[in-house]
């Protein structure tokens, strides 16, 4: 999939990724957008491991700023490093929303949100959908374009249904490949 083309068509896109190919997709997408300034929200890999994966796969992360909601749940972590902001847990939706809102005022091009599926470990689908709706409103007012990831595992169908009304387009990669 040409991610940059999709991002140019829509302000917000929900990308449904087949779980078995999830890792190769996130690397491929990051590679495509890496020439631009990107905010990368990670809810399932630590910042360190994500950078390790990206570096190994040749993804340039120089223009990326990460928001890591995982590291603090498993180890002692500073609040911030030059290219990453650490929040307490994926369930800290207010903190997550605040830091993203702050960054939306900065000159970033894209927001990659990885992923809505992980939020459902901490929150029911309705608060997750509300969080998404609020975030989409803020994105609409900014210059940033956003890609939200979700996995196509069975129990996520309802989450996807709740969320799809808020974004400009839903792209199901299992149907396009």
């Amino acid at each position: 999939m040409d991610v940059l083309e999709k991002l140019s068509e829509n302000k917000t896109t929900l990308l449904i990724i087949p779980s078995e190919e999830y890792n190769s997709f996130i690397v491929g997408i990051a590679k495509q957008v890496s020439k631009n300034k990107v905010i990368y929200v990670t809810l399932n890999k630590t910042y360190e491991s994500l950078k390790e994966i990206f570096n190994k796969k040749g993804v340039n992360t120089e223009k990326m700023f990460f928001i890591d909601a995982i590291s603090k749940t498993i180890k002692k972590t500073p609040d911030q490093t030059p290219d990453c902001y650490f929040i307490n847990s994926p369930g800290a939706l207010t903190d997550l929303s605040l830091i993203i809102s702050k960054l939306l005022d900065e000159p970033f091009d894209y927001l990659l949100f990885d992923s809505l599926t992980n939020l459902t470990i901490y929150e029911k689908k309705t608060p997750v959908a509300k969080f998404l709706a609020g975030l989409v409103n803020k994105i609409e007012e900014s210059k940033i374009r956003a890609l939200f990831y979700a996995l196509n595992v069975g129990q996520q169908d309802e989450l996807i249904k709740e969320c799809e009304m808020f974004v400009d387009e839903v792209v199901d990669l299992s149907k396009t490949i």
């Binding site: 399932n44 491991s49 590291s71 749940t73 498993i74 180890k75 369930g91 470990i121 901490y122």
Partner: protein
């Protein structure tokens, strides 16, 4: 009979790991979160805790600090770097780090090894 506590917020994982380990002759109790684990440890004394690293409630790093003298193996859907994994393993009672999704035979092998040592 060795006792194992499986701590995971996903009911499917709790049920399947319980069934697998019971078939191998272990006594298995389950907990739905770190907080539930701590509560149950007031009456249960397992030989090993298999603990999901990412659950709602008290963060795992805080939960493991409160557990003394019981071996803990992390079950993790979260990807960590090799350095982070090594760091986590340095905590006194952490004995293994099993990445999800795991192979059943591999899980049994690792549990057997931990409880034999």
């Amino acid at each position: 009979m060795k006792k194992i506590m499986v701590v995971d917020d996903e009911p499917d994982i709790r049920a399947s790991v319980k069934t697998i380990l019971e078939k191998k002759g272990y006594k298995v109790v389950t907990a739905i979160s770190g907080d539930d684990c701590l509560k149950q440890l007031k009456k249960e004394k397992p030989d090993l805790i298999l603990m999901d690293i990412m659950m709602p409630g008290t963060p795992t790093r805080e939960v493991v600090k409160k557990i003394k003298d019981i071996k803990i193996s992390f079950l993790s859907v979260v990807r960590t770097s090799e350095a982070e994994k090594e760091e986590l393993m340095k905590q006194s009672n952490i004995v293994d780090f099993i990445q999800k999704p795991f192979d059943i035979d591999e899980l049994i092998k690792r549990v057997n090894k931990i409880l034999k040592d």
